[in-house]
């Protein structure tokens, strides 16, 4: 009987599953039956053998290469094709328009993306001309700008990391949770925050992705250059150019128009469209989203006109007339289109 017990205890000891009492018991038994020490020695030698069975590195490299080749479709990412905001299918979401942290990454591409991501079953969409403010299950405030979509999993608040997916533009005021980081994914860049207020802009079909930090601190990374991480300080803006693959960090200066100061990147959340010294061509996509209208510029000259200004509650007609005061052009306005001559 004792012999069986010795074997049973030895097994546990070899598996590193023996309790202190059991180890003590074994020790006493070995004292009583000294031969048992041989069993332990042999077993130990047998057990230690497994460290020799490491496959040589070069073999593993080769095996990995074959594996990678076999499944190359899972690893090649195609940049999302230009999807214009107007073609979203709208899901019913009601909310106040308030932009919270601008997420400057167009995440729309995620739907069409070849990457395989788990389904996020909750979607919030702000159509063109619409801005929305929502509160996420964890208390984070999100302002979605026109032509944007925010997605997340219903269980997002219970996971170790809070994750959302954005296409378009949003301003986030993230609830601070020390042990539960918050990550915003967009097609090209990801932003990790602990509790902070920032803006991300990433519209599909545009060559840039931008993130502007207002408060707190965020860690940014470019999705397919995962080694590089950038930490932004408040009032800094990070811009990533898709085609040039360049990253630029700038300090954000408020824009002074009239007697007031505005922060161009985030003023939209207060229902103000601010622009400073931008050409009409540069302004075009912002105006299109803001007013939910299509703009085509028929002649070359107006494209290069530069404007500085703020639009608060103006209609497209009023906005264009105001711009006409600064630089001469004519326009024709129909329900959905503006043609500028």
């Amino acid at each position: 009987m004792d012999k069986s017990l010795i074997i049973a205890l030895l097994s546990k000891k070899m598996a590193a599953e023996a309790t202190q009492e059991e180890l003590e018991q074994l020790r006493l038994l070995i004292e009583k039956y000294p031969d048992a020490i041989y069993y332990e020695e042999f077993l130990q030698e047998l057990w230690e053998n497994n460290s020799g069975s490491q496959a040589p590195q070069s073999d593993l490299d080769q095996i990995y290469a074959l594996h990678r080749n076999k499944y190359k479709a899972d690893f090649t990412f195609h940049p999302a094709e230009e999807i214009h905001a107007g073609r979203y299918s709208y899901l019913h979401v009601s909310g106040v328009l308030l932009g919270l942290v601008v997420v400057a990454l167009l995440c729309f591409g995620l739907w069409q993306h070849h990457k395989q991501l788990p389904t996020h079953d909750t979607h919030i969409v702000a159509g063109k001309g619409i801005r929305k403010k929502v509160v996420l299950p964890d208390g984070t405030l999100v302002w979605l700008n026109a032509g944007s979509k925010l997605s997340y999993d219903t269980g997002f608040n219970q996971q170790k990391i809070r994750q959302v997916f954005l296409t378009g533009e949003a301003f986030f005021d993230v609830s601070h949770r020390k042990s539960q980081p918050f990550i915003v994914h967009t097609e090209k860049i990801s932003v990790k925050v602990l509790g902070t207020a920032f803006n991300i802009q990433a519209y599909p079909g545009e060559n840039k992705s931008e993130a502007t930090l207002i408060r707190g601190s965020i860690e940014l990374s470019v999705n397919d250059q995962s080694g590089q991480k950038v930490i932004l300080n408040p009032s800094e803006k990070f811009a990533f150019s898709t085609e040039k693959k360049t990253m630029v960090i700038n300090h954000v200066e408020p824009v002074k128009i009239g007697n007031d100061e505005y922060i161009e990147e985030t003023s939209w959340k207060d229902n103000q469209l601010v622009f400073q010294d931008e050409t009409l061509e540069e302004l075009k996509p912002r105006l299109e989203r803001w007013f939910n209208i299509r703009i085509s510029i028929r002649s070359d000259q107006p494209k290069h006109y530069r404007f500085t200004g703020v639009f608060k509650n103006e209609t497209i007609n009023e906005a264009l007339e105001a711009m006409q005061l600064i630089k001469p052009f004519t326009f024709k306005l129909t329900r959905y289109d503006v043609i500028i001559y």
Partner: protein
């Protein structure tokens, strides 16, 4: 050497959040050997074992966001490996579904330790023959605990049995080996 858990956690984050291929490559190199050996025990074919292990890894990649929820990637991967291997076996047996108890498992006692003092090649062969005659699950338990250094709980999860059963299987295996040793050295 099994990669320590903190390292795996770091890789896990890089793969899941940043789609890092280089992190995936490292994870592959870390897990593949034990996945391969485990699948080989069940499938007994080098090709099938490679296919299965490769399958497990790509499954991890395809579901990488779910990885964040998993605490122990190695055990998770071995569970997938078990299922993948059984599926492969069942591919060829359309009639009855095969379970781990039915199949012949093959394990090897590794033979590459030059520092061996007590156990010579002869003895090693005898010990190997002894382990071969153990029942399937017993062999797998022995392999996972001895070779992969898994705990009772982890082994139980992978093989879908209780911790008590794991203990019983291990004792059976060790008993068998002791019998050989006793005969060889005339121990008590």
């Amino acid at each position: 050497m099994p990669k320590s858990l903190p390292d795996l956690d770091d890789l896990k984050t890089h793969i899941a959040l940043y789609d890092s291929e280089s992190a995936y490559q490292q994870l592959f190199k870390c897990l593949f050997p034990s996945l391969y050996r485990f699948c080989f025990c069940i499938l007994k074919s080098r090709e099938l074992a490679e296919e299965a292990a490769s399958d497990v890894m790509i499954t991890l990649w395809r579901n990488r966001l779910k990885m964040l929820e998993i605490n122990n990637i190695k055990v998770y991967a071995l569970v997938i490996a078990r299922n993948v291997s059984l599926n492969i076996l069942n591919r060829n047996h359309k009639e009855e579904l095969v379970s781990l108890d039915d199949i012949r498992i093959e394990i090897l006692l590794d033979a590459h330790n030059p520092e061996q003092l007590l156990i010579n090649d002869e003895l090693k062969k005898k010990l190997e023959m002894a382990t071969q005659s153990l029942p399937s699950k017993c062999k797998l338990v022995f392999k996972l605990i001895k070779e992969d250094g898994l705990s009772y709980k982890e082994t139980a999860t992978i093989l879908n049995i209780s911790v008590k059963t794991v203990d019983a299987h291990l004792v059976t295996a060790v008993k068998k080996l002791s019998t050989i040793l006793k005969a060889e050295f005339n121990l008590m």
